[in-house]
């Protein structure tokens, strides 16, 4: 049996818009192994949310899958029936969405919602509520029995995100996807939630695909990192490799712009000058060229995502010394 859980192969996804096709994902490939924590970083608008909603096929109606495969335990998710897809969602693969304020149904109690997501379980309602209360306690919500009777608006953003994590872990999934689960929260809460997530992960041994635009969090939590820029993977590898020896100018800029340790995170992050290119009319050559201080002639051609050493890939001509000197 292979130890690869999720394989994404040459995935390209467009959004149909009035201006033409917006190429949100281009030729994305990476793997997640069983029990591994993989981080995805990139500025906002780089296609991180598109990528993870593609994995669960919960994309907007104007989404078009152009090419590639997403395999989970070897089966192509993009070829599954809606029925098979539903069996996967919330059981083998769970997700925590980006905005905790939008995650829960505003007119149903938290208890009701935690009950409903256990629809596959044969347990009695009382047992399910017991499980729900236990999960809430596990993510650090005090007095869970009473809180089950409350509505989402009676919880703070941090509490709601904890509830979302509790919901996602309830079925002990093989893969937990978390889309910027701490971006909406303040730094102390962020630390607490990350710590809790780490503990729960080691108990349950699930793989995590963790999205963030905050490198400090990724460094703290992840085994491996995938750096995305404008819908493409520009670098990927071991956390230590990426942080100590980044091989793509974009990754280097991200690290320079990050305040470093997550506890000292500033509210306003220094940003990389320039903007993500228009994904409807993509520029020629290297996608990062407009903003790259090291760009040279060769960069008018698209660099491939090359394997630099075992487990470290980057897409930049600078890694080809024969080209730089030519």
């Amino acid at each position: 049996m292979s130890d690869t859980l999720l394989e994404i192969d040459n995935l390209s996804v467009d959004y149909e818009t009035e201006r033409g096709d917006l190429k949100a994902l281009r030729d994305i490939s990476f793997d997640v192994k069983k029990g591994e924590i993989v981080g995805i970083v990139g500025e906002s608008g780089c296609g991180k949310s598109t990528l993870i909603s593609s994995i669960l096929r919960l994309t907007a109606p104007n989404t078009r899958f152009r090419q590639g495969e997403v395999r989970f335990n070897g089966d192509d998710i993009l070829a599954m029936t809606e029925r098979q897809m539903r069996d996967l969602r919330g059981s083998d693969i769970s997700i925590v969405f980006q905005d905790p304020m939008q995650t829960h149904n505003p007119v149903l109690t938290i208890g009701r919602q935690l009950l409903d997501i256990q629809h596959r379980s044969k347990a009695t309602t009382a047992q399910k509520l017991e499980t729900a209360a236990k999960m809430l306690a596990a993510v650090g919500i005090p007095d869970p029995q009473a809180r089950l009777k409350q509505y989402p608006h009676e919880f703070s953003g941090g509490m709601r995100q904890r509830i979302a994590i509790a919901m996602a872990l309830m079925s002990e999934p093989d893969l937990l996807i978390a889309d910027e689960p701490t971006t909406a929260l303040d730094a102390t809460l962020e630390v607490q939630i990350i710590e809790r997530l780490k503990e729960l992960q080691s108990e349950m041994n699930c793989a995590i695909l963790f999205i963030s635009h905050h490198l400090g969090v990724i460094a703290e939590l992840c085994d491996r990192v995938v750096v995305m820029y404008a819908g493409a993977v520009v670098e990927s590898g071991d956390v230590r490799e990426i942080f100590h020896d980044p091989k793509h100018p974009y990754t280097r800029r991200l690290i320079e712009c990050d305040p470093g340790h997550i506890k000292t995170r500033a509210r306003i992050l220094p940003t990389i000058p320039g903007e993500v290119p228009d994904l409807v009319n993509l520029p020629d050559g290297c996608i990062f060229r407009d903003r790259c201080e090291q760009a040279f002639d060769k960069c008018q051609q698209v660099p491939a995502l090359d394997k630099l050493k075992e487990g470290h890939f980057a897409a930049c001509w600078l890694n080809h010394p024969e080209e730089t000197t030519a």
């Binding site: 919960l58 539903r86 997700i95 995650t103 997501i117 979302a164």
Partner: protein
């Protein structure tokens, strides 16, 4: 929530007072001597004198208004000029006929409209959605009195499926007589509510929490029925509450077409005979109904929406 309820009813009472005063002054502003208008040119002086006495017409207008309010507080809306019966008795004798007709109209049209709208939103841009849209728009455009006349001609006169006039006896008899009038009143509401529910449902279905429900593999059916619909019908409650005024005016035409007793018929009859105390009483009760139904709609909205409930 308790304070909100009290406040909401206080507001309703205030609106009612303003409405009653305006109506009272408007009727008194009709040119001419109210006594001769009511009793006609051939009334005897004794008759005139007793009416003036009865309605306190010799008093200044502010005093008349106070007298009217005084009666109102005691549940007395005056005396029918012709029969001498109490206006309250007359109005409340007719009211049930109108209420049962409106209630049935609202129930069937809301049920069908919500079902159609929810179905259309769950299957957007399918053939059924488009047919529902076309039908809804034509329903909305159809005024109740036209539908009433057509329904009468087709289903009562031609096909003879349902009785044409009157209210019938016993539960089934009354229900049978209600079918065509409620059909006429409710039809345009079906289209209206269907459009409303479709739009609000589509909006709700695009919200984040619906995506969460889907991400946990909850069935689409359950998502529509218990996750989305509860939010999507909130505007319907308000619309029906505010639409009470509209329903009452449809009732006027419908009661005339189907020769049904009811407050619509009563107000027309009393206007043609210039029976002012009855006109006043009927309008007052209808206004009360309208104000009450908007207040109930607001409270119901707050009850159905926990977010509103806790802030109110």
């Amino acid at each position: 929530m308790f304070i909100y309820t009290v406040k909401r009813f206080a507001l309703a009472g205030l609106i009612l007072i303003v409405a009653v005063t305006a109506m009272f002054l408007m009727i008194r502003a009709v040119p001419g001597d109210p006594v001769s208008i009511m009793l006609g040119p051939r009334a005897t002086p004794e008759l005139k004198a007793s009416l003036i006495e009865q309605m306190a017409l010799d008093q200044p207008i502010w005093k008349q208004l106070l007298i009217y309010y005084g009666g109102l507080l005691r549940g007395d809306l005056g005396i029918d000029v012709f029969s001498g019966r109490s206006v309250v008795d007359i109005v409340f004798q007719q009211l049930p006929y109108t209420l049962e007709m409106i209630a049935l109209s609202v129930v069937w049209s809301a049920a069908l409209g919500i079902a159609l709208g929810a179905y259309a939103a769950a299957h957007p841009n399918t053939i059924i959605d488009r047919v529902a849209a076309a039908v809804s728009v034509s329903f909305v455009a159809a005024p109740a009195f036209v539908v009433a006349l057509l329904a009468l001609l087709i289903f009562a006169v031609q096909l003879q499926w349902f009785p044409a006039i009157g209210v019938g006896e016993g539960f089934w008899g009354r229900l049978n007589h209600l079918v065509l009038p409620s059909f006429a009143i409710g039809l345009s509401w079906v289209g209206y509510i269907a459009r409303l529910v479709r739009a609000s449902m589509l909006e709700v279905l695009g919200e984040g929490h619906i995506r969460t429900a889907r991400a946990f593999g909850i069935s689409e059916r359950r998502i529509i029925m218990s996750y989305a619909l509860r939010i999507a019908i909130l505007p319907v409650v308000t619309v029906i509450g505010v639409g009470m005024g509209f329903l009452l005016s449809s009732a006027v035409f419908t009661e005339i077409v189907f020769a049904r007793p009811g407050i619509g018929k009563l107000v027309i009859d009393s206007i043609t005979t210039r029976n002012y105390p009855v006109v006043m009483g009927t309008v007052l009760v209808s206004t009360g109904l309208f104000v009450l139904s908007t207040a109930i709609a607001d409270l119901l909205n707050a009850l159905l929406d926990p977010r509103a409930r806790s802030t109110k």
